[in-house]
Symmetry: C2
Subunit: 257 residues, 2 copies
DNA sequence: ACTTGAAAGTGACGTTACGTCATTTCGTAT
DNA sequence: ATACGAAATGACGTAACGTCACTTTCAAGT
């Protein structure tokens, strides 16, 4: 028979919690002193361990109470349903994670105008996803849909997506410069390099994508991150300067972001 | 200017929630009728969308309030810390998932005696993990530690682990039979087949593991799922019968679970 | 036996984001 | 003017305790 303070020290459960468990009838001390102080037995300690364990599994105290009272509780069923619940929660958090990455990356592109980025994302998230998908599936054939999955994504955590985002951010910050300036031309060159790495020989897809990009309404329907008209035009001018100056081996144009 | 009921219909947010947002000062209706009925403006609707979006990101209402009030809020920092928080939560749920699978699989082995399985798992989970690892690292060399990772695990969701668990469960249910019976011999044969698939040529490791298995205290220190002495002896007898009857090409013995 | 300080006891309120009554007032149609 | 739906306010409940505030009990020292 040990005192509540001892139990607290041994189990790392606070005294308040032990009293609360008593209060809700989850774990009542086996006996009490005549003055009313709780005295816990070895049995109580074991039950307490079970409670801690099940709480660690994510169960609520009410459920634990029922489980431990009912001697013929159906463990397999409740464990499996708890597993399903935990997996659903993980999925939910996973999609939150994607959204957060998307938002963080958007802000990296906008470079300071945070509210604008948030507004854009809200626009995107308010469209429902099924409509997006069917529209995409009408626009592209199977092979192109496979290519679509390899595009950099705003919600991506891969270095490839992150570099595209950084490049677009740089473009936006150099909009006041001459599109023929060395800085801008370097960014364009890097974009084309990356585009070739992933999409060499897929000129048709790239050109189609770029045409869609230039139409704000089409881009929106595809769920593409909105890029302002003047940014796109700036990129196109810079691209043409780049191609006419020294490089003219390829017919592809545009960017894949 | 629209009424609260309209807002509720448009945004799928309940009237109660809108009033609550007003109460905590998160979203106060722009104006009111002289009787005190709330009237929401377009501005309010936009703010409401932002609130919904941020709540979807997992923020608390208090945080959202601060974010939207403070015009120069540092979004990148708070978004990144929120991302870290979400990822930690995912990790936590991931380890809960492992524990649940472990428990479900244990019960599958014990075949009915649920409380026993839970007791065993509590024993295991009460040992702290770092102590387990250092003991293991003292017992095995590098190559054997790599082999260790390929052992079936109680928390596993792979078909391989699941089959080992099923096999052990069958053994336990046939303990009353003769170890020479066809059923038991078939189970043993299947175990040896699986063992050969994964661990062919690693006889030294297998034998060492089996010796450790036969010592309850060593097994416990290694964090191996406890198997009763009589079950192990039964398996060994069945194994010897199997080898002496017709198969004697290999010197390996024991099971890897 | 008496004192005293530590520890135990019992409320009660706060936390989060609302749901769910109960009661009263407002707006509008007839 | 009246009736009726809709809006407002207020209060209580949720889960699992943390944190006071105040009182009583325990165990040791004198």
């Amino acid at each position: 028979m040990i005192h509540i303070h001892e139990v607290a020290k041994l189990t790392k459960i606070t005294v308040r919690t032990l009293r609360y468990y008593d209060q809700i009838g989850l774990l009542t001390a086996t006996s009490k002193t005549e003055g009313g102080h709780r005295l816990y037995s070895e049995e109580d300690m074991k039950k307490l361990q079970q409670i801690q364990f099940l709480k660690g599994m994510g169960y609520r105290l009410q459920d634990i109470k029922e489980m431990l009272c009912d001697a013929k509780w159906n463990w397999p069923i409740s464990l499996k349903s708890q597993l399903v619940y935990i997996m659903e929660e993980q999925e939910r958090l996973g999609s939150i994670e994607s959204s957060l990455r998307e938002l963080i990356n958007s802000i990296a592109i906008e470079g300071g105008d945070d509210h604008l980025a948030i507004q854009k994302l809200i626009q995107l998230s308010n469209q429902n996803k099924t409509k997006l998908r069917t529209f995409r599936e009408n626009m592209f054939n199977d092979k192109q849909l496979e290519l679509w999955t390899r595009l950099p994504k705003m919600k991506g955590k891969d270095p490839d997506s992150l570099e595209w985002i950084a490049l677009l951010g740089q473009i936006k910050r150099h909009m006041k410069d001459d599109p023929a300036s060395l800085r801008v031309q370097n960014i364009i060159r890097r974009m084309l390099e990356k585009q070739m790495e992933e999409f060499e020989g897929e000129d048709e897809f790239i050109n189609k994508l770029w045409e869609l990009r230039k139409s704000p309404s089409q881009s929106e329907k595809l769920g593409l991150y909105p890029i302002e008209q003047e940014v796109l035009e700036f990129m196109e001018r810079a691209y043409e300067i780049y191609m006419s100056s020294e490089h003219n081996g390829s017919t592809q144009q545009g960017g894949v972001l």
